[in-house]
Subunit: 482 residues, 2 copies
């Protein structure tokens, strides 16, 4: 296999480690919330608000615990990557209803004046325990648990599921792509075809967590401190009278960062033109960085282009492939040892095309000290606040035990940690590089069987005896009331 | 078939027609852009900016025309719904780089000072021709064409594709769901599992264009003037000691807008509890609106529940089904004549699960008066600015002709219209109800064959002789330069 390509075409980004710019720019800490300023409260389902009014009228303000989990793996997934927590904590810390929100709610004629007055002063005062971002988790394990007065904990459901579901899907997809690439570079090219602007920003973030090197999305690069990357489009070539004029114009503008797109007219002729421009760059003491293939049979074309480059003594020129790639196609090309140094992945990764949704749910597991569950067909899940206990054997995980949060299990790592108490985050935000390193470390402790791209086996998650007994007891009580 | 259900549970929304609130609230006209205020310029791919600097250095400021189109239908699609234009026009009208944007771009050390000075004053000054939102269009037809100085027209590519691609997919999915429902009501319940916040807002908008009656998404309801709708969650039931206490608490709070969720423990027992609460509501002069099924076999359960309700003289109580629904499942239930009055559709519609992406592309078709095209395998498309000419026969469309924008074809409707000139929108924004009516009218003119949910035939789109000749000429020139 060719050596790992540490893309020279990306911009060095000295503030990656610190979360701060060395050039005196602060990353905009207050712009992370994907909602317009002052509109945190209204992004919710109407029923959250009608239920809240019913709780309010019944004077039900007792604490409730909700548990967020995926019941069934999306297709071909053997693990999930925790992602989205930062947005959740930002949202909970900022949660409120503005005057404009309340005016709108009043206009619907659904709500009573005393309830709207109550909403005016409402803030999120609860606590959150969660699996830190970048860590791996498995089906039926809570990635996050919210405990707080039932109205508060219920009302934030819509936002929490939306963000953690999306970011889990995208970070998991990215981790699969990086696993398939086996050390070759990956760049996020998805901004144009993600499902909206928020998803584009989150894909840049999650793909970086997943191990990508860079993103084409400039706003995401700025916001998250990810190295931006980019080449040229077919339209650039077409707007010149011929291909080599376009190549020369680009090389003249960026003599130290030129990547030439070969397939606008004919990839092989494009490669010959690239050789010509590389030689011209060389005469001025510069080096062509790479060429890009964007259509056709990547396996065959990359070999032909590699040969043309090598025969012209341009072994330093890298080959980038993009267009319709996902982990399955990257895996195929890597297994065939196609001489591709860097993959640009876009649409199929950016929408998690083979698994664009999960069944992630936010379930009430405890109200006022009473463990609860529902019995709907195929939707039964154990009651009570939980903890995930993870066991390892010689540095590789053997299995997890899903237990109650107040159990103590010896010899196991407790995966959920407190991240918010009394509405205030418990610790400073980790930087993106730290989250990315957590994932890298976790992937090394996961048996490769579970990383298979097709039909991985189920990672063993056992239910603790204590949780089994509680589940049986609650189920019995519900099945036979009185 | 049961009569169409005009959901009584949705809130009347008097400002739907006018785009203004009757309660003195203005819809927030400046909050439609899904980007943070002042960050319009940076949501782009890095290569748009590097190409721009190369154009700038080469002094290439001539006008270019880019054409936005879908090359191949996503699975099972026989038509596409135009949507997303409003966001595009808002974006183009607001397009600029803020000082913070320029500071960031400077920090990357990619760009020259003179180019950054140029960006500082840059605004979008071009023109746009487009197929109005709500109209149907077909593969290979441009839904939008941008003409302007090449740097401006190129730089807005990422945003334009992102929004029109997403909204086309969602509006098309919604139209398919409404077609499958055959007059029964549809409500958007997707906010929690769309791919991000922007997608949730756009799904509410696009599903309303597609013919849905309401959305659960309160922020979208406020922003777009769509009726909000909602019921109750399983957690509401579980937080009470038993189901009937929960039902009574809700009915007590909302005696005129209660919908009871039946499946928390056992749907049939839930139906008997609903009958009891309906009778109690009746004693106080109120009517239970509906019951909701959220799991199990909807066909069988809806029949059993309908029988229980009818035998208790509650024929006025409607049945709402939700959970895992899409156009395929709705179609099956409607064909079997399941007594379901209203469908709540969420996840699978909100991510367009069977077609989460399209190959929508934004291609340079003309630069400085010269028609251009690329020859990449499977990516050839005709050059030149275009028009879609649509022919009809007795009120039903017979075929379209794709021609050049300066052709005139007698007896045909010209589908693209000017929507922006000199960077200024050409007309006031249409209201959402007007867009929705356009779609309803177009759906009536589309032969039902093309509305089939599975493998519809290809709607005939011919290429005009003039465009065929131009394509052949440009292709020849490119294949044999000199």
């Amino acid at each position: 296999m060719r050596p790992c390509f540490r893309a020279p075409f990306v911009t060095p980004c000295p503030y990656l480690r610190s979360g701060k710019s060395d050039w005196g720019i602060r990353l905009m800490d207050n712009s992370h919330d994907p909602l317009p300023p002052g509109q945190t409260g209204l992004f919710t389902d109407l029923y959250e608000l009608t239920m809240a009014q019913a709780f309010f009228r019944q004077k039900m303000f007792a604490p409730a615990t909700f548990s967020l989990f995926v019941r069934n793996y999306p297709a071909n997934r053997g693990y999930l990557v925790s992602a989205g927590l930062e947005d959740v904590l930002d949202h909970l810390a900022a949660f409120h209803f503005s005057q404009a929100d309340l005016t709108y709610l009043r206009s619907t004629e659904i709500f009573t004046g005393d309830f709207l007055d109550y909403l005016e002063g409402l803030r999120f005062t609860g606590s959150v325990r969660a699996i830190p971002e970048g860590r791996l988790y498995f089906a039926n394990e809570p990635v996050l648990e919210v405990t707080g007065p039932v109205i508060e904990a219920q009302m934030v459901e819509t936002f929490i599921i939306n963000q953690v579901n999306l970011q889990t899907l995208l970070a998991t997809k990215a981790a699969r792509c990086v696993w398939a690439a086996q050390g070759r570079g990956m760049s996020d090219f998805s901004a144009r075809r993600t499902q909206g602007i928020d998803a584009a920003l989150k894909m840049a973030r999650c793909s970086y967590i997943g191990g990508f090197q860079s993103t084409s999305n400039v706003l995401a690069a700025q916001r998250y401190g990810i190295p931006p990357a980019g080449t040229m489009a077919h339209s650039f070539i077409s707007s010149f009278p011929d291909e080599i004029s376009a190549f020369r114009a680009y090389a003249d503008t960026f003599p130290q960062r030129t990547i030439l797109l070969l397939d606008t007219y004919d990839t092989i002729q494009g490669a010959w033109n690239a050789v010509q421009v590389a030689k011209e760059l060389d005469e001025s003491g510069n080096r062509l960085l790479a060429v890009r293939l964007d259509s056709g049979d990547f396996d065959s074309l990359s070999r032909q282009v590699r040969r043309i480059l090598d025969e012209a003594n341009l072994d330093y020129v890298k080959i980038l492939a993009s267009g319709g790639l996902d982990e399955y196609e990257v895996d195929r090309l890597v297994r065939d040892d196609a001489p591709i140094d860097l993959f640009g992945v876009g649409t199929k990764a950016g929408v998690s095309a083979d698994a664009p949704w999960s069944d992630m749910a936010y379930k009430l597991v405890c109200y006022d000290g009473r463990p609860v569950m529902k019995l709907s067909p195929d939707k039964v899940s154990p009651p009570g606040a939980k903890q995930v206990f993870r066991f390892q054997d010689n540095g590789v995980w053997s299995h997890d035990v899903l237990g109650l949060s107040d159990e103590s299990v010896t010899g196991a790592e407790e995966i959920l940690v407190e991240v918010m108490a009394g509405g205030t985050p418990s610790a400073a935000k980790p930087g993106l590089p730290e989250i990315r390193e957590r994932l890298e470390a976790d992937m090394q402790r996961l048996d490769p069987r579970f990383k298979a791209l097709h039909r991985p086996p189920l990672y063993p998650v056992q239910i603790s005896p204590k949780l089994q007994r509680l589940t049986a007891r609650v189920q019995e009580q519900l099945a036979e009331p009185e």
